[in-house]
Symmetry: C2
Subunit: 153 residues, 2 copies
DNA sequence: TATTGTTATACTCTATAACTATA
DNA sequence: TATAGTTATAGAGTATAACAATA
């Protein structure tokens, strides 16, 4: 039994005692799971998390500046352009130049976008329900969201 | 006051009532923050989260199969090759072909790797302390890690 | 046939710098 | 001089398919 080849002696039990405590590690694993579930749930719609978030924000906040939405969602304005291009190309969102400051683009969800969002909401709910079930219920979800909020607020 | 240009009337108060509850959204924002803090904390070392995780796992589990480590960390084996290439190139980790199954590579942390890991641990701790402080203390951290674990275990 | 490690590849996400048009 | 949107680009992260060596 050569000491320099322990492959067969270790087996499948892995000591994770330090890593398992690391917040960053747990966050990455959890985020990966939830993200994949979202993508699979919306695979037929071709809607990605940022698309859905933009539609949700604009449905309650029509006319926000493009940069305001980007900042609110934690997306850099350079990377936000392609997201809005896609939504505008699908006629779900509209850019309108501000009349008081010709540099800014005001974003509006279209009527088609609102109707489409209504069809997306139950799909999103099925995704969220799956996540909440894994967490153990709505109270756990609220607690988790509260804790996560402390990290980025 | 044209109805089709609300940019100036909305102001900076954004209604987030639905998105703020979404677990996926909160996860992404929190993960982004913690990840960035990790990268900045380790910027002088050129160590990325997966590098650190591999060293930590191998320090307690010498001789694991390459695919076992990859799977334990939730990394696909194809993407894991470059990570080990990097660590092996820096002499922090060693591949040794198993003698009982010539297909498998056993991974070992080197003595230099162990010594280096000892210098990394306090750096990592300063990162983790910052995160725990934002969360409000160790109990909040434990609770958060427990909740996150339910999502990926 | 099946599995381990590997290569190649593509797509997404994120970051940075520079450009334009406006202010 | 500064700002909003845009373009271009580069770097990671992740996913899939296919291959060689071995079982």
């Amino acid at each position: 039994m050569p000491k320099d080849d322990m492959c067969e002696t270790v087996g499948p039990v892995i000591d994770f005692s330090d890593m398992a405590d690391a917040v960053g590690y747990a966050l990455r694993r959890a985020q990966l799971y939830v993200y994949q579930d979202f993508i699979e749930t919306f695979s037929a719609e071709g809607i990605r998390p940022p698309d859905f978030a933009v539609l949700m924000v604009l449905s309650r906040n029509p006319g926000l500046k493009q940069s305001e939405v980007a900042e609110a969602l934690g997306i850099q304005r350079a990377n936000f352009v392609a997201i809005i291009d896609g939504l505008e190309g699908r006629k779900l969102v509209e850019r309108r130049k501000s009349e008081t400051d010709r540099r800014v683009q005001c974003l509006f969800i279209t009527n088609a976008g609102l109707a489409y969002l209504d069809t997306l909401k139950p799909i999103w709910q099925s995704h969220e329900d799956r996540v909440v079930a894994r967490l153990g219920g709505p109270e756990s979800r609220d607690h988790l969201v509260n804790l996560l909020g402390r990290l980025y607020d």
